[in-house]
Symmetry: C2
Subunit: 191 residues, 2 copies
DNA sequence: CCCATATTAGAACATTATTTCTAGAACAAA
DNA sequence: TTTGTTCTAGAAATAATGTTCTAATATGGG
């Protein structure tokens, strides 16, 4: 099988997030210093700087999307509320990935030079979410703009007050719920 | 008096915002291409890359703070609501600066290498806002966390759904107001 | 007009970053 | 043990970026 790795992808991705938030940029040299992994190993694993950054972004997005889409399907008293609350929960469950999800832009990690296969992966991931939200809107009768606001806009804005640095308090969830109800309930077709 | 400038600070700051959002980074070379201003002129005006970026950030922050603080003092039916709505209004009134305010982090524009005078300016600006929000909380009896959420967290999360690219719709303000009322009104000492 | 001043201009230089490359280490199977 | 494979390691080569510098351009006042 050959030699075993001495480092995990996640170690490197976490360092990427920390550096982006702290320095506003990611240098290969900084990754080497921050993780203790040698340059050669990084290039062996990720091919290029662009590849490394893109995979960090896709890793984060994938982890969040999995939870978000599962929650969106979940039935509940208030449709979609569970999905809205998935954002603060994700921040507590995966603080390293949350740094990337909440504090960074896609354009910091992916560009036109990103390997094509990874660009395609991103497009596919985005498509899945768009399809799911569209279905949610058709099912509930909610306008797309309202759904986006309650499901993503408000929750993201809320957790961003704490990241990076502080943990996202449990009490925040109740406030996100208030905001969600305030914008969503008036638009729900009363069943 | 000497020769007159052929470019304004704002031209350059706007380019900085566009590039950060588009490329995730700011190269001096890109600023030259994007603005048509020569490298020499940029260094003459701003001293260094760090200085240029910091001044772009301070310029944006100053413009927003001026409006926000004025709105926060303004009396109204619901205390603070005008300040909460200042975020979407700022995005419409100053779309270039909004790009920096809403889509970028401070760490992308200022670091430990930033000229000390500009670091001090930032600290002073942040202090002024913190003092004002503290006073607002004392005056209304609102917990700080709730005030931050309603005044900043939710409005910022909302406009971020549109920037960069789309203009922030007027209709969004009503939704921000709903969210603001939902989290703030229950906590207001009934007068 | 001529001087002092402020600004522009971009080539040359210095610095810093990314990438490649070669040698060697760890591991599994034959 | 030998062999094939995968991974580590970091110095060297390559590429790119930030900065300086000198000359030239524009403007207003004496």
């Amino acid at each position: 099988m050959g030699r075993r790795s001495t480092f995990s992808d996640d170690d490197v991705f976490a360092a990427v997030g920390r550096m982006l938030v702290r320095d506003g940029e990611v240098r290969m040299q900084s990754v080497v210093e921050e993780t203790g992994v040698s340059v050669g190993s990084l290039y062996h694993r990720f091919g290029s700087r662009e590849g490394l950054l893109a995979r960090a972004w896709l890793d984060t997005l994938g982890a969040f999307h999995a939870r978000f889409l599962a929650a969106l399907d979940q039935p509940g008293e208030v449709p979609g509320l569970a999905a809205a609350l998935e954002t603060p929960r994700f921040c507590r469950a995966e603080p390293d990935k949350a740094l990337i999800l909440v504090c960074c832009r896609r354009s910091e990690l992916m560009s036109d030079n990103t390997p094509e296969a990874l660009q395609a992966e991103l497009a596919a991931a985005n498509d899945r979410v768009m399809v799911a939200i569209d279905a949610f809107c058709r099912h509930t009768g909610l306008p797309l703009e309202i759904a986006r606001l309650g499901l993503i806009g408000f929750p993201l804005g809320a957790v961003k007050l704490y990241l990076p640095g502080e943990p996202v308090p449990e009490a925040l969830d109740a406030e996100i719920e208030r905001a969600y109800r305030a914008v969503v309930l008036p638009r729900l077709a009363s069943s």
